[in-house]
Symmetry: C2
Subunit: 220 residues, 2 copies
DNA sequence: TCACGTAACCTACTTCCGGTAAGTTACCCG
DNA sequence: CGGGTAACTTACCGGAAGTAGGTTACGTGA
């Protein structure tokens, strides 16, 4: 793959800690995405970085540590994109719609590495799984917040349960999306918002204006 | 460690292929559940079976193969229990309710090993992940069937999407359930059915009788 | 009841990979 | 231009997956 590009400057350069770290994460994300966590060896990642294995351990401590770093970075980016997208919304419905579109679009664009992120994160030790679960909690917090404004009359346990429902549904939907080239991110978002709007209807804020207008393109 | 217990019947018995296979699956499910996939060694499973490692390879080919066999067996059992529970239902709503209760109850009862099943299955090679995904498709088929009777007016793509939504939501909900001792399987089932009934309402069969009566205990 | 074939089983190994110790080299700064 | 530091390497260990080939218990027919 890189046989034709033996690095323009044939000499390998020393890089600053920060730069090397980002490069390692880029490479690791790519290789994990290609091969899966198990099938990836640290030696291969190191080689693709043009560096030797102990460097990876210097920076990330362990293979698990590297995976967690990848997941953390990607999820943070995903969360950021989603949050920014929702910021411009007027109505709660619009928040939901924009959030979903941003979420699915991002995953669709990064599908190769994200398939791993959505399924692989639990690959290793319980502590690793816990670290990954922690990033998921950030996302739950965001969703719970949306739900609380969207359905202010819902009791706390319902909010909590529905947060889990929406998280699980979104992840599975994202996986489905990556396996179906004919389904667009908007399609996925529309199905999700349709389902969720109805699901939440018993708790809907009564004061919701008569449909934003540019928001969800109508259940067809 | 085992110095004090030199096995009550000091002689180890030879077992038939079928019996040994089931015992191995039982032990593997237990150990995977305790330690997680990665942290479990084939030697440990073999030792707990009172047998040596090559036997495991004789029967299951590889560590992945053993995991797949565990998952397949458990998921088949889960599917069976769920299907049987739904068989006795009168209305579509009741089908949904009974299915959910059976599903969550089963997972709650087997929580230790099922936490692994729900999160760990993708831990290994892509082929393994695919094998596990295949068992998931059986479950999708069941759900899609329920949806088709529940919401006969829904178009095919909606059925498909909602199937994924419900699968993901159920799995996430199951995970949440196992981490929350104060939440019962019925609680989880109630939240799911409430949400789904509403979510599906635009496509509901018009002829659905005015609420079963003994089915979902009312959204509180 | 005893030989005998087969299938369950084991010992002893190779290989591969995660992880580490200890030494080396490029670069920055005075 | 010399010294110090931080990026980097080689060469190794231990442990677990997977395997080759031999051994022993058990059912079965004479």
């Amino acid at each position: 793959m890189n046989a034709a590009t033996p690095q323009p400057p044939a000499r390998r350069r020393r890089m600053s800690r920060a730069a090397r770290e980002q490069q390692m994460l880029d490479v690791a994300e790519e290789v994990f995405g290609e091969r899966g966590y198990q099938a990836t060896s640290m030696d291969e990642i190191a080689e693709r970085c043009g560096v030797s294995k102990p460097m990876l351990y210097e920076y990330f401590g362990s293979k698990d540590g590297l995976l967690v770093a990848c997941v953390t970075r990607s999820k943070a980016e995903l969360l950021d994109v989603t949050q920014k997208a929702m910021a411009g919304a007027a109505t709660p419905e619009d928040v939901l719609w924009r959030g979903m579109v941003a979420y699915f679009s991002f995953i669709d664009a990064h599908s190769d590495s994200f398939a791993m992120l959505l399924r692989e994160p639990t690959a290793a030790s319980p502590e690793t799984a816990e670290a990954v679960e922690a990033t998921r909690r950030q996302q739950s917090a965001l969703i719970a917040g949306v739900l609380a404004t969207f359905a202010p009359s819902a009791p706390a346990d319902v909010i909590e349960a529905y947060t889990q429902i929406i998280m699980g549904a979104s992840e599975r939907m994202a996986l489905w999306l990556t396996s179906r080239p004919d389904v667009s991110a908007e399609d996925a978002a529309r199905h999700m918002t349709d389902f969720c709007r109805q699901g939440l209807s018993p708790y809907l804020a009564p004061a919701s204006p008569p449909a934003g207008g540019e928001a969800p393109p109508e259940p067809r």
